[in-house]
Amino acid sequence: MRKTFSFHGGIHPPENKHQSVRSAITDAGIPPELIIPLSQHIGAPAGVVVTIGEHVLKGQVIAEAQGFVSVPKHAPTSGTIHAIEDRLIAHPSGHFAPCIVIIPDGKDEWIECKGRPDYETLDKLALIDLIRHAGIAGMGGAGFPSSVKLSVKAGTHIETLIINGTECEPYITADDALMRERADQIIEGAKILRHIIGPQETLIGVEDNKPEGIAALRAAAQGSGIEVVQFPTKYPSGGEKQLIEILTGKQVPSGGLPSQVGVVCQNIGSTVAIYEAIVHGRPLISRVTTVTGDAVREPQNFQTLIGTPMRFLLEKAGYQPEKNKRLIMGGPMMGFTVPDIDVPIVKTTNCLLAPTEDELPTPPPAQACIRCGMCAEACPASLLPQQLFWFAQGKEFEKLEEHNLFDCIECGACSYACPSNIPLVQYYRASKAEILQLRRDHAKAEASRVRFESRQERLEQAEAEKEAKRAARKKAAEQRAQAGGGDTTEDPIQAAIARAQAKKAAQQGAGGEQSELETLEKAVVSGQKRLDTATAKLEEATAQGSDFVEALQTGVEKTRAKLQKAEQALTDYQQTHNQAAAEPDEPPADAAKAAIEKAMAKRQAEAALSPAEKALADLAKLQQRLQKTQNTLAQSRANGEEEKVIVALESTVVRLTEKISSTQQQLQQAEDA
């Protein structure tokens, strides 16, 4: 007889388990519609891989796992995908969630399943992968993906593998029924798990209120080296940390995982599912669900397809809706009221409890805390529920965390023990959620801060770069101005004027309506220019041994071809228009050059003038302009132009008059000198 330990606190609520184990597990059959929520487990929802109208076979993957902590979903029977839409699901929020709806065809046709009864030849990772692909998530209630739980970090030494057959919550008998009827499958599943984990010992922990189950398991476990351990009934022995303490005497550290004390835990239901997945290759598409409570005529355990609407199952058990005020998924301690009777059974639905009002009365109104300390005595996690209650009321989240709120397993023992009927667990659940929300908000704020700061940095950098460029340009301009000195050709303004004049001269030179000829000439000139630059670049690149030589080479060739084309077009044009004699020998580029030369000569002539002469010339020009503007102004007035135009013209006149007077002054000075 193995020595067992006990944990702090715990309660003994009425068990009410006998009602549902009077008969064997019944097959619930195929309902008219199956609703499979994409998220039935902890972690990321699965991603749909089927389309509406597609025919699926039993066991076919209909949604793939997304990410590490996620499991796929399989079709529970053969049929047609009717819809992929949001449906009401079994969740205390009463929210809608994405679901795949299948209309069964009644044939219940399996997809080809390949079992591996020779699992001992497979390695650990391959087996974990098979378990993952079978969509197995913890079937005890939380729904944590089994494959993740079994992927123990390399180097962790696992001493004990525990199969959790405790099922401590009142009313629920799903695991008990499995132990009675499928003990050999449980043992086989445990062997597979033992092969994966490689522990020193494998234990199956069962409370002593299930003698038939224990007997069946012991018979099946004969000679397998798996020990079935029996211990006194107490709620909540089935909590993972509590069971570990009962069987090994070790406490899992706060916030830690069982593997830290060398233990891995699996539920009975999950163990059977793992057996099915490995030995028969069948994914998790059905489970045993207890339907019980005084509002059903025949409480019993059903082998139910995942996705079966609860109504279908309840009606099989003789549901009396008039007697039932609220339907609970899970047990009376940790379960929650489902929002509607048509929501589907999911992988974690171990029990449907339909109690009458007499059986589970509405809790009487809460009274003030009398500080009796019963809750602290009942708490299996050795917390101070009373203290936590005060802090939760005052929203003192830091204090709550200091008092290890997150070690609370939400078992409800404190609420059960409270003589003032205070819904203590409700306070802890809400506070936990609030703290998690705050943590999320803080993480988001932190991310926003980082983004804001890097944006700020980027903007500053861009501004600095712009500033540096501006400074460099300014400096370069200054240098040019200095280096150029009196050299007129370097003056950008002068150069621009020269360009403009050259253009005009070229236009005049060509004369009349020869825009087409002009464009052709321009094309030739610019082509020549481009070819020159390209050739220069190519030469440079060749000298430096750049990688782009080839590209540049083709570029030069292309430009040359273009230039030839343009020249050809020009000659063609000239020939057709019979103007070849006009000035065919003088390339237009030369015309531009001539214009530039002319402009330069003019400029030099200007520079050669004395200040007095210059001022005189300026004055003449200005007077001319003034005359012209005044004329325009008079004309505009006469034509009744817009006021804006007139105002602008007037201001121009004033400005010109001012300029003339200043030029006159200059002239005076020059003459004086």
């Binding site: 969740h91 003030a368 804001f452 890097s454």
Partner: protein, 209 residues
């Protein structure tokens, strides 16, 4: 030298004090250089409490500048996204009286919202991108823009610059991931503090009578 010191004890005392002052001065000076703190630590702590929406409702261009202003004596009640909880946290940190939120700077939104660009109407002007303090808007000139919801702080700074008014602030829907249990209603708890105050059924009233 020693003889002189013995002869003039006042001088000796003076010398000793000056010597001590010089030694400690040097020590303090060294420590000031050696253990210099970069930036303003209190402003950092304040900045950690602020919600980092960078919305500018406080009148400062971002949370960091407001944090620095608070460190220099600005009021702590100008941050609507932080809400009462934020003001309380600031008051605790700075050990001042918590003030009610200054309504001049806005009111606390009941639910956080995120910006949403009606993409069919977006003309790709990039004005919202330039306005977004956390680079949460994706797009390029003359290309459609869109909001990266997970990065949006809901500051609504992008709404105003949009020339075609195609940005909406959408309150975030409660999802399965964000849903959580609420605290039991404390009001009803106090109303029902004495269970026998409840209206009784006829039978028990008869018995009482």
């Amino acid at each position: 030298m020693i003889a002189t010191l013995i002869q003039y004890p006042l001088f000796a005392a003076l010398l000793a004090l000056v010597g001590l002052a010089a030694v400690f001065g040097a020590l303090l000076g060294y420590a000031a250089v050696r253990f210099k703190t970069e930036g303003n630590p209190i402003a950092d702590e304040i900045n950690n409490i602020l919600p980092q929406t960078q919305c500018g409702q406080c009148g400062y261009p971002g949370c960091r500048p407001y944090a620095e202003a608070i460190a220099n004596g600005e009021d702590i009640n100008k941050c609507p996204p932080g809400g009462e909880a934020g003001i309380q946290a600031l008051a605790d940190l700075l050990d001042v009286e918590p003030l009610p939120l200054d309504s001049e700077h806005g009111v606390v939104a009941a639910v956080p919202s995120v910006a949403f660009i009606r993409e069919a109407e977006c003309i790709g002007c990039t004005k919202c991108i330039q306005a977004c303090p956390v680079d949460a808007i994706l797009g390029a000139a003359k290309q459609m823009h869109t909001v990266i919801i997970s990065e949006c702080t809901g500051c609504d700074l992008c709404v105003e610059p949009c020339p075609v008014d195609c940005i909406d602030m959408i309150p975030q829907q409660e999802s399965l991931q964000t849903w959580h249990w609420n605290l039991p209603d404390p009001v009803s708890r106090h109303v029902d503090i004495i269970a026998t105050d409840e209206p009784q059924d006829d039978a028990s009233r008869d018995r009482a009578a």
